[in-house]
């Protein structure tokens, strides 16, 4: 129960932060990516602001355990596979096209109108299809 209350609070605060920062406004995200146009640096302030509390939180984890029990996630192997690069490039293309990423897409569902809903549904469809794409890529990689 406690675990779910903290998850609800974290999700709510995440949503409020996205709302306050303006990151559910697609023109702010596309403005950040539009380096040769009317560049908008807001996203850098959002990223910078978000990284500070997270960096402090990571520094508090060694030798401790999560408040509700269990263990902290281990640091992943610094393995840079083609899936990481290809997936990030695909994600970046979609992010640039619409100006939305998964967090803001959910946070803005209630007021973004039908375009945000279409983006969200397509994103879910993509997530549904992702394991198949991953298998295909893995079998291609093994064959070569």
């Amino acid at each position: 129960m406690l675990r779910m209350i903290f998850a609800l609070a974290a999700g709510g605060l995440f949503g409020l932060g996205l709302f306050v920062s303006g990151m559910t406004d697609t023109s702010k995200v596309q403005g950040w990516l539009d380096v040769f146009g009317n560049w908008d640096p807001t996203l850098a302030f959002v990223m910078g602001g978000a990284i500070i509390p997270m960096a402090i939180a990571w520094r508090l984890t060694p030798g401790r355990m999560p408040f509700v029990g269990g263990a902290f996630p281990p640091k992943p192997e610094p393995k840079l596979g083609s899936n990481l690069v290809l997936g990030s490039v695909m994600f970046g293309m979609g992010w640039g096209l619409a100006g939305l990423c998964p967090g803001p897409a959910i946070a803005s569902l209630s007021y973004g109108g039908w375009p945000h809903l279409v983006f969200f549904m397509a994103m879910i469809l993509g997530m549904f299809a992702a394991p198949t794409l991953r298998q295909r890529l893995d079998s291609v990689a093994q064959a070569s």
Binding site: M4, I5, A7, L8, A9, A10, G11, G12, L13, F14, G15, L16, G17, S21, G22, M23, T26, S27, K28, D34, V35, G37, T42, F45, M47, G49, P53, A55, W58, P66, V68, L84, V85, L86, G87, S88, M90, F91, G92, G94, W95, G96, L97, A98, C101, G103, I106, A107, S110, Y111, G113, P115, F120, M123, I124, G126, M127, A129, P131, R134
Partner: protein, 141 residues
Amino acid sequence: MNPDWAYGLMGGLMIGLAGAIFLLANGRIMGASGIIGGLVDRTGWSTGRERIAFLVGLFLAPSLLQLLIGAPETHATTNFLVLLAAGLLVGLGTRLANGCTSGHGVCGISRFNLRGIVATVFYILAGGLTVVIFRHILGAI
């Protein structure tokens, strides 16, 4: 400072605090695509209730705030095909790369995680190139 940047910084601090709570309380990484994707492809059903609680908060808090102070403008394209392609690319790409702006960008970089840093560099470069091509060359967005 431009008020937009001040709101950006304030919202960013809230996002980081949310990530800090999720990490220190539940021992979880706040990655939006991972939290929702694990429910969609069933890989995260063992922690399903926690994921749903997070997503309910993520949807509900901005919904309630916009009832109080009004909805912010969003300016999303009304081109159905662009929205469809963008959504599919984001859904497929974030699952293939195991993360998005929150997971790789916020939680990864703050941990000096090489994978998070590399992913962030590639999605920002790809996003920038996409906006340049589709806005300034093709005039489509």
